[in-house]
Symmetry: C2
Subunit: 337 residues, 2 copies
């Protein structure tokens, strides 16, 4: 699928010059602009949370694609804790990945049809439009589910009323990269009040549209050979040009625990952003490691392990608490200089 | 990722000998056996509906995988119409793809938190456990949604009471192939009363475990090269050995409409099963083509277009009606010989 000798490493500039933005980008940017303007006026910090995996289509009329494992649990859960901490949240997620609030009742773990029962319409109450059926039956939430739903629904409605959550969708790695650049440029005027919490599982490789096959790749011609190019390292322009003052947090997911800290340090060296959160695929719900640069330390780095406290269920609660403190200190520091 | 010169075409036998079955297979087979036995005694026809895409993991500790585009709409919708037509349905689907009944309210098109409202607990009704909160509030279904939910919920409960739906899950193409073989072997005793409606989007290529990398593939070494082997053509042993009397329906999805009928005919020639349903990626909700062998026709084939009738919303209603007739005729034919 690729000609030997053609380019396999794109700079960010080359990438954005040669690939195509998603058709809905302008529309999304307008929503972001209005959202940022309002929260800027109200003095609220804003965090961009990215969540879920990106796809790499192998065909222009897409049937097959490369994907990255991610249900979006980390991002959706973290977004709720940022909202609780008073942030305005831009939640940029993979289509159909988990979302704040609805995540509690989604997919097959907690199918919502199981919450509902058919019961008699209440003859005492006035007739409500659309509620009555020929048989005088109506749909009700099971009593055993009401308490849990009520808790989530209260938070959900409060966030809707406050207008502190803006949701954006992506599918492909191209959608993601163009959208990240555009959102970063909109957040730039916030300076240190903007945080970037980049939890999406972004593909390291992509197939330039120029190399993509038009139709479904046919089998029957033996094995399938795919050669993909490296995705440009986007953290570099993000930190250097698009949002030099933003508080940028990236993630490293590894399956070999011995690579976690070396890879995190390498990323900080290369891109110069604030923090890498390292997680091991199998222990990521119980512990993560915050890796920062630290001029006072012997080797120039500081590692802090964050663990799920006894009696708690979501490590994101601890992670966000710590991040909010770090972000506040970073804003503070600016004030003093 | 592969050594040149190694095997790239697996026979079904080689495949099942060298690859690994999913750990839950035995457990699933027991459920299928009990389900088939009961419906066989009750004289009900049984259909296996497969639905959703399969993944091909690129790493043993999976972070990246190849996937096939499919939300599972065709399979989930068809399963409902088979249930309505009196079939017992084994619904074998990709984890998190759409399912019968819940499909009407799933994902972001119809998020269920939007159906619910917080209202006062009814002071007239007796106290129900778990329903009351400190503030005397409870969760209710929005009046405007009750009618639609009631219709679906009635069907869902009726199917649960009748026990006519058995749901199985797969993720990878390996899960799918091992599960398909096992289910086919359980359905074999039903002879012509079993139908196979193979709507899942199954990968044509896979990466043998022997060639898979143990950990997450590292970027930073230039481009990614993947070579995948062809998945064995499973329709052949399905038709020849596992269920010679089963009514087997396969699907062809193409993006180039000119390939649709030639590819469907080729599949019938090769595998000798009953029917190929051809669909074009962009028109599949409005028209499909049923391709069968026909000894009386000049070129040996018959094509019948099935189209969405005016005023209807789901082409699957027409498709299943037609299939139920064809299946009945096939059972009938056996009775006469």
């Amino acid at each position: 699928m690729s000609t030997p000798g053609t380019q396999t490493t794109f700079s960010a500039e080359d990438y954005f010059r040669t690939q195509h933005p998603p058709p809905t980008l302008e529309h999304d940017v307008e929503k972001v602009r209005a959202f940022v303007t309002r929260h800027r006026e109200e003095g609220r910090p804003v965090v961009l949370v990215t969540s879920g995996g990106t796809t790499v289509p192998l065909e222009r009329n897409v049937v097959r694609f490369l994907d990255n494992f991610s249900a979006g649990t980390r991002g959706a859960t973290s977004a709720e804790y940022f909202l609780q901490a008073g942030y305005a949240v831009i939640f940029m997620h993979r289509q159909f990945s988990l979302q704040p609030f609805s995540r509690h009742f989604s997919h097959s773990t907690n199918p919502f049809l199981e919450f509902l029962e058919i019961g008699p319409s209440n003859p005492m109450s006035p007739i409500e439009p659309g509620s009555a059926s020929e048989e005088g039956e109506t749909v009700k939430v099971l009593p055993s589910m009401r308490k849990e739903l009520l808790t989530v629904l209260r938070q959900y409605h409060a966030v809707q009323r406050a207008g502190t959550l803006l949701t954006l969708n992506f599918v492909t790695v191209d959608d993601y990269l163009f959208m990240l650049r555009a959102v970063a440029q909109e957040l730039e005027p916030l300076g240190r009040r903007a945080m970037f919490y980049l939890a999406a599982a972004v593909s390291d490789f992509f197939l330039p549209t120029q190399k993509m096959s038009e139709h479904k790749i046919q089998s029957g011609k033996g094995s399938l050979q795919i050669e993909m190019d490296q995705v440009p390292k986007i953290l570099k322009p993000l930190r250097d040009y698009w949002t030099p003052e933003g508080f940028i947090v990236s993630f490293k997911l590894e399956t070999d625990p011995s690579l976690l800290i070396p890879k995190a340090r390498q990323a900080l060296e290369r891109y110069g952003h604030k923090l890498v959160i390292g997680n091991d695929l199998y222990r990521r719900k119980f512990e993560v490691v915050f890796v920062e640069k630290d001029a006072d330390s012997k080797d120039g780095f500081r590692e802090t392990w964050v663990r799920l406290p006894e009696g708690k269920t979501e490590i994101e609660e601890e992670m966000i608490k710590k991040l909010v403190e770090m972000h506040a200190a970073w804003k503070e520091e600016k004030g003093r200089t």
